[in-house]
Amino acid sequence: MDKKLKISELISTDIRSRANAEIIRAELDGVKDDVILDFAGVTFVSRSFTDELYNVMCEHKNIKLDNTSDFVKSMIDTVTQGRNTKRTFSEEKSEIKEFDDMNSLSLFLATI
């Protein structure tokens, strides 16, 4: 029989920290059956948590997701897409300003 984890009860309806995925990882330890992660009632998942959830899903191929809201589904899709395409970093183009004394720093800060 499939094991079902109600994420809103196990973690929260508002999931922010990456470390929350460890709670799911611990629940899956040694489980051989299929597992359903039920996201009913979950209103927010952070990108960090979702990224770690993706890792958990890579480790345990027997996971299915259920009752994901549009927001949760969209975050999972974003992370999945990001993990399967080459990442392009946007280079910070703004120059580095170096100040060796407080006076020159103060003059610069007066402009912002």
Binding site: R18, Y54, F71, S74, T78, Q81, S106, F108, L109, A110
Partner: protein, 301 residues
Amino acid sequence: MEDVVKIPNVDRDERIGSAFNHLFQVIQHTDKYNVGNLFWDFSDTSFFHPFFLAPLVIYKQSCKRSIECTNKPSRVVGYLDLVHFDDPLSIKECDDFKAVLESYMSKTYIPVCRFDLCKSNIDDLQTILQRVIKSQSKADYRITTPLSHLLGELIDNINEHSYGKHGYIFSQYFKKENCINLVIADDGITIFGSYVRSGKYLDEINNNEVEALKLANEGKSTKNLPGAENRGYGISSSKKMLVDGLHGSFFMLSGGAFHRYDSNGASFIKLPDSINWNGTIILMKIPVNVPVDFDYSKYTK
């Protein structure tokens, strides 16, 4: 031997650069006097810009010196007590912090709060902080998701990377500007220290704290999985969402490096050697009204 550092009056209408200028002056002067008794003289003060006040409280906690605050005018004594200037509000895992923080629902500020890093209540703390901030500012409901993102990613970042003992948070809503001034900080090893600790990107950083800050803002993480570039979205996505999407302002100070990104431009600044911030602090001006064309999904990719 006694030394006195004058605390300036930093009005909320002052330019943002002025608030940082005053802050750096105080840090420099305080660090210079490292023997004997040190006094911060508040006789000139009547108002504190939030981006001057919150760093000052956190600096006072982290500089490990005994600083006596003197000559506080009666007009500021009450306010300094309310924001927990001398002793940040401690959020412990066992405390009923929800009830404590909910008492600020009808105020315009959340006092400087200190919380233990790497504790299991950190999501609950964010949830209640967010509820209080939204209630205070009567914010557009559309601010909910971006605010969750900013709090979630930035607090998770300090939890995962700072190796600090404490995190700090402070918020002040200004009705006139209709924006939330939010400060998040840690007492950890700085961004430069985090790269050094991991041994990653050291050639690119070249022993330079500003290069480290720049790399972190580009999304180069010290904790990517082997063969993946899955992490490092926290700072870069939060900053772009806040400035490009919500038209707010973003400032970051870590060790001897400072970064500013707002509608007037971006710059990475190496501070004089005489100024050093213990840890990392992020200061954000978050407009309460979300632009009609704001699209959250643009900033999570």
